[in-house]
Symmetry: C2
Subunit: 329 residues, 2 copies
């Protein structure tokens, strides 16, 4: 058993999203609940800004669902910062239980899968799943101090400043989470920490292939296969890896990282970060699902499970991808 | 809904544990599957040693359950290292899907709760839940380089070097996970990162009180209430906090951190770390459950959700505690 089926088809009844100025000049600008004009969000540190965005997204999702906070049963979240502090500090503001998760940039899909599990199994009525990231807090934790002004290599991606989340609950109609394929850890030996797309593509291919095999579906059964943050290069690698296995996603694939920016200069391969798929999926894609422009979506968020310590000790980058199938009902 | 009830009573069918030399000179020495004579476990870094211990514990649990790895459906794990690399790198060795979680030293209880959820809901047949920690990797990540030889303050605890885990599955008899109360984040404003016990005690009290209230039980309904790693001081605070609410756990409470070491010198308040409750619960307590010395246990692992960044930015320490009720059947 690797793919989980949710018989009661729990729905994503509402979402909440927020993104920074750079992000909002791109495709998500017209779809987020709040477009920031200042990426510090009025806070004194980037970490506090990241946390405030995540809190905003979770609160907004609850508000958009026309619910009170007292009606929420669980909060599932994680983020890229060490010890997932954005999620923990967000959870501190809430009175409901907190389930901390971590799968790097695959966190949105893992959180939605667990939320669907809790609701489908009858263990909860309403669960909030959310995540986010911030370019500046990620840069200084994973790479270099911003003040150094390091040149970014062309294979790199730009961490999305933003947060997104949704409320999962039982409902008659809406975007239903019908199945989830939780990924295994795949590592092809990539050690270049700037080349996340290449590192994550094999894990993404593995999960997609497993999902199609388990559910006896073909890629064409989905209006869209939405991957997390492979970027331009990673997306090409994914298509190649799937093509080799006889699966063609050329015509119905988009990658959140690939589409999030109008690439002008430094973003190179596009966006990344837990906030990347969280913002794009919960704003742009969910809007299309709500309006019926899309009806069957496979959302596959991808994560690179490295740390600065593991990289420093010469380890390669283990990666993971979790898939959730979303169908309009 | 805060407490989750598992109607099918999934069982912890086997456990696997390993601990370092310092730990094995204490109570767990006679109960672990492997007692290390060398805390590097033959590895070149402490991080690699931590990962190897976690892999050992997971593998040993599967072996003790007389199962093949191909019969496992999911691996649930997390640890204290940044980006939970011990768990991720352990998962890389396995062919089954990985669910990364994080709740600091409360990870063992969160993992068991999720494992029970997957099995009880019929989403999985056999799930491995495991976690661990290493004194030396935790010290250099959270505190000071070991080489500095910093003096430890008397309110401090000693991170346990060890790992433990179990296999959760449906079975006729054995130690059943009957309910789980996932905690909310509680923060009483403690900022002393050396005083984890004081920081975590309120969260622990909150979860225990909620569990008793939700399940309409009294503390006396349990043979033993086993808390994670409050240490000596934290345990006293917990007892006081519960006493104020009319709950007396004086006669049937032990704390894994309090009992794990024969405190001689530097351990002060006792043990801590994700490995603390993972080792003590899965070896010593589970042995008592198997032999019938204990029949009803409330296992409440506690976690301090801080990071060096949040502490450095002047934040207090948000804490969490997750409880799982275990009953012999």
């Amino acid at each position: 058993m690797r793919t989980i089926y949710f018989k009661s088809n729990p729905k994503i009844i509402a979402t909440g999203t927020i993104a920074g100025p750079k992000e909002c000049s791109g495709v998500v600008g017209n779809f987020v609940d709040k477009a920031l004009s200042d990426d510090t969000f009025g806070e004194s540190t980037y970490e506090k800004a990241e946390c405030k965005m995540l809190t905003f997204a979770a609160r907004k999702a609850i508000e958009n669902a026309a619910l009170e906070e007292s009606e929420i049963d669980f909060f599932i979240s994680g983020d890229l910062l060490n010890q997932i502090i954005s999620a923990s500090f967000t959870a501190r503001d809430f009175d409901f239980p907190f389930l901390g998760v971590y799968s790097a940039c695959a966190t949105m899909a893992e959180s939605y899968a667990l939320a669907a599990l809790l609701v489908d199994g009858g263990y909860a009525n309403r669960v909030v799943a959310a995540t986010g990231s911030h370019f500046s807090s990620a840069e200084r934790q994973y790479r270099y101090p911003l003040e150094l002004g390091c040149t970014r290599p062309p294979q790199s991606q730009w961490t999305v400043t933003g947060a997104g989340g949704g409320v999962v609950a039982k409902a008659e109609h809406g975007a239903a989470i019908t199945a989830a394929t939780l990924g295994r850890v795949v590592d092809y030996g990539i050690t270049d920490v700037n080349n996340m797309g290449a590192a994550m593509a094999p894990a993404c291919a593995d999960t997609i292939l497993r999902h199609l095999q388990d559910t006896d579906k073909s890629a064409r059964d989905f209006d869209l296969i939405v991957t997390g943050d492979l970027g331009v290069l990673g997306s090409r690698l994914l298509k190649d890896l799937l093509w080799e296995k006889g699966v063609d996603i050329q015509s119905n694939h988009i990658d959140c990282g690939e589409i999030v920016y109008n690439v002008i200069e430094d973003e190179f391969q596009g966006g990344s970060g837990a906030g990347c798929s969280a913002v794009v999926f919960n704003s742009y894609i969910m809007d299309k699902l709500r309006r019926g422009g899309l009806n069957r979506v496979l959302f596959v968020a991808t994560g690179a499970l490295l740390s600065t310590v593991s990289s420093g000790q010469g380890e390669s980058i283990p990666c993971i991808a979790h898939a959730v199938a979303i169908e309009n009902m």
